[in-house]
Amino acid sequence: MSHAIDIDLHREGPGGLETEEMTLNMGPQHPSTHGVLRFVVKADGEVMRRAIPDIGYLHRSIEKIAEKVGYHGFMPYTDRVDYVSAMQCNQGWAMACEKLAGIEVPRRGEYCRVIASEFGRIASHLISVGATGMDMGAITPFTHAIREREYINDILEELCGARLTFNYMRIGGCAWDLPPGFAKRAIAYLDRFEPLIDEYDELISFNKIYVERLANVAPITPERAISWNLVGPNLRGSGVRYDVRRDVPYSAYPEFEFDVPVGTGERGTLGDCYDRYMVRMREIRQSCRILRQALEGIPAGPVVAKVPRTFKPAPGAVHVRVEASRGDMGWFAVSDGTAFPVRVHIRTGSYAAMAAIEELSKGLMIADLVAVIASLDIVAPEVDR
């Protein structure tokens, strides 16, 4: 967090008129900032010269907590890293521990993880696309999206008893097996949900006003996206076909068929806000596809491996990556052979997206900043940890 800002006032404008650079403060509490974060906007009339992100308002020192609570004890805290999509955070931490200690997860456990993660991804993308609509002034689509997300929360609640901070996974597998009849109910829900994606598309994705609001706004070239370390849907929106689930396969993902949708600049420029939005819409369909395969093909067996209660992995350092809803989430964990990790570092998708905004905002209209934040799907707790 910082408040030091250089201000250059009075300068010559066109026609010899003196103009003044305007400094606007957006946040920390603002309905479209998706959490508590702040932008210092330097504007010349309606055009931004720079929007400087100021983060840290939601810093809960989760990485420091990890050093104090030990490996098993850290699992509930990982939910809070990204509480919009907590399942993948669970999975990232579990995978880091498993890699440190060389634990193999039973196949049914991996399937349960995939099912939980993909439901989490759909719920998170629904929030993202719904909030994008709302930030652009379309309130109704958000209610549609949030309604479906509530049903998915019900499904996840059935799985683990919680609706947001799941604490579902364990080192070596999952805490609970699927409840009786879960697969049948989940598939019945998908049968109902999938036609609603089309409905949602008709409602907003191809709406002329909405398309023109997002298309050609803040395009990111593939090269810039990579050098900024943008990941997940933000990277794929720029046309880079890279998905950790497919390119660095983990868990049970190699057993499923799914496509990796990328942006093509279909309504404007490659990598614009509309491309990023559309990638999320298409990923929802792919998640449904993975879910159907996983729910139908789930093998029998235990869901969790035998892991000692005093978990002391051998000294070493690992860096694992999972495809979270906001993209490649890196979990760096260092062990010294004791029951407490020496260091845990979480590199999240929103962090890079947030860092990119300062460059990306140059020359944009002030009103488009909201579109940029929404299309990059920034979730503030994930930035600050």
Partner: protein, 165 residues
């Protein structure tokens, strides 16, 4: 390029700075002298056969017992689909490293975070301010010997136990 090739390419150019041993794994670990990190990174990024176009992560680790701070650079190449982890160390008393923020823009924030939480000074960084902690915070919280202050601007950080055991 495989890990052995990456290591050999680095050894050819920086025989003095790159450790002859490397550790195999998903992220092959190459140990680099702290003064040469920026040049090694530049070669990794600009040499077409290496082509590391993305800095995936930069993490500092406080190794208090060895009196040093370890910094890890996890590099990715989307072009060639290979990856490598660079490991370097710097003395704990005055940790200094050259910046790589001119090579990958994301390093700007990652280095600011490392400065904020671990106190590693990145030379020639354009804007080395705290990132997550308040700017008037004293100390670097991820240091192993960091002591939490009793209060911050009159707000106590101590709480009475509700259980009264």
């Amino acid at each position: 390029m495989d890990a052995d090739g990456i290591h050999r390419a680095l050894r050819e150019k920086f025989a003095g700075a790159v450790d002859p041993d490397w550790v195999a794994g998903e992220w092959p670990i190459v140990t680099v002298g702290s003064a040469s990190v920026a040049e090694v990174c530049r070669l990794l990024r600009d040499e077409p056969a290496l082509g590391f176009d993305c800095l995936s992560n930069l993490s500092g680790v406080d190794r208090k017992d060895d009196d040093r701070i370890e910094v890890w650079y996890h590099l990715l190449s989307y072009r060639h689909r290979h990856q490598v982890a660079l490991r370097t160390t710097t003395p704990r008393l005055d940790p200094v490293l050259p910046t790589v923020s001119h090579l990958w823009p994301i390093a700007n924030w990652l280095e600011r975070e490392c400065w904020d939480l671990l106190g590693v000074r990145f030379v020639d960084h354009p804007d080395l301010r705290r990132l997550l902690m308040p700017e008037d915070w004293v100390g670097h919280p991820l240091r192993k010997d960091f002591v939490e202050p009793d209060e911050y601007h009159g707000i106590s950080t101590r709480r009475e136990s509700l259980l009264k055991l």
